[in-house]
């Protein structure tokens, strides 16, 4: 999902700034355009890596989410600690038919989010988590 967001932003940025410079001098405008394209490609590469690094694993007792390239994070959230599950789909995600599943616990710092899921998989994960959470629920 982030890949597509970035592509959109990159293209728009390139068009805008390129157009602005083009009006004065053609050579400079082209150079800026190329630079911006390079930046877009690089950021695409970074985002691709981030996307690839984002994984989740449903274990018997807990959900494990691994993410991050530079700052590597691993979260273990026991199903019993789950307060609720969110499934969200922003405008861009909807455009590409994707959804994000987020697990909430009583701790604000808990961080278990799985973006870019197919709607069917998101619904399955949500129902699975809700079912397990109910079965193993523990009080505060």
């Amino acid at each position: 999902m982030r890949v597509w967001e970035a592509l959109g932003t990159g293209v728009i940025l390139a068009l805008l700034i390129g157009g602005a410079v083009m009006t004065t001098s053609v050579g400079a405008g082209l150079a800026v355009l190329v630079g911006i394209l390079l930046v877009s490609v690089a950021s695409l590469w970074f985002l691709h890596r981030r996307f690839r690094a984002w994984r989740y694993l449903e274990r018997a007792e807990d959900l494990v989410v691994v993410r991050g390239v530079m700052l590597r994070r691993l979260s273990v959230v026991p199903y019993g600690r789950m307060q609720y599950v969110d499934v969200t789909a922003g405008p861009v995600e909807r455009l590409f038919g994707l959804a994000t599943v987020k697990l909430h616990t009583a701790a604000a710092a808990s961080d278990a989010r799985v973006p870019g899921l197919e709607p069917a998989e998101a619904a399955r994960l949500r129902d699975q988590l809700a079912r397990l959470g109910e079965a193993k629920a523990a009080g505060l």
Partner: protein, 446 residues
Amino acid sequence: MAPAGAPPAWCRLHPLSPLIRSSRTLAAIAVLAVVDAAQARHGNRMSLVVYGAVILFGLVAGVIAWLVTRWRLEPDALRIETGLFRRDSRRLPIDRIQAVDLVQPFLGRILGLAELRIRLAGADGSRGRLSYLSETDAHQLRARLLAAHHGLDPATPPPPERLLLSVPSGRLLMSVATSFLGSAAGVLAVVAVILSITVPSALAVVFGSSFSLLFALGSGIWRRVTSEYRFTAAAAPDGLRLRAGLFQTVAETIPAGRIQAVRMVEPLLWRPFGWCRVVVDVAGGAANRRGRTGGGGQVSRALLPVGLAADAELVLDRVLGDHRVPVTRPPRRARLKAPLGYHFLAAGYDRRHAVTVNGRLQRTTCWVPLEKVQSVRRLQGPVQRRLRVSSVHLDTAGRSVRAVLRDRDQNEADAEVEELTELCRTARAVHPPRPATVPVRAPSVQ
């Protein structure tokens, strides 16, 4: 539980409550009126009439609010109904209570009235306030709520409590003076005085610029002293009783087993005295973000505003049981990432608790009961990856205590994540979070 049959009758708040509730606003308006009258010398009747109308309106509104508010204690919940146009009926389930506080503003102490604040876990609107009840009613209701919370008959008389410790006023004043606020104010004052002596022409500028800062620091110090004055902690079988306050007194009760995490702080300037501060984290804090800071509104409360190591041991024993957990230090190469903090860095865990020690200028030790851990996270930044270390975070429902096993060896951290997850699961099973029938934890060693 309570006898079955007809629901108990509705009760009202104390008839004097509107007066206390609006006393501050009324006082402010009265001051405004007097100032206005003094300025407009030629008897501005009109403004007096306006002020009178405002005060009258406030009083009438207060009386109406009093008239439409009622509460009753049901077998499994406290119900509070209020509101004239928009009725608000709030049901506070007794077994979800996180804490019961008794707050007495200065005027309330004179009139013998007290406010009862009931806090539940959960987000906004999960708190109930009864302001105000007569002192005896408030005490009685608190005892009933706590007895019912622990699964006893609500009519059980409040259990006897035993004084654990008190903080002498001298020590409190000294500790505030050497705290961050106090020392910052002191430095600022000294700088201002020196500047104004050496550069007399800058006097106005110096005082003008430092005044607002000094005022902010001063009000922080003032609040700290008045809210923690004459602090006592007492142990009762149904929880810990904390009392403090100079003008407004707050008596908090933290039911046993409701503590999410404990933090002990030892600031640099307190170390010569061997003092520390112990703070607990109780769940339920979203409402706190709305900015209600006065009188014990915080989610984390001081179990010990300032005390010696022995005092800290006493309260820690009380709230955690056996909390002496062996800690291990991170590998020496972590010094490159945390050159300053490495000095005290340590962490460890056993079957009941995890302990982390962080900080250099302000050594902070956190205890987290494993059954309260919500999730386990492992983080590794770029520098940490180069040094083959990572940090393990234990997330709890509290807001202020952050337990981080910082800069552990990479492989060790992986193992710790697995082991802590496992231990937390066992702890949850062995110590179910709501010991409804057992009001007391195992008596502590004393």
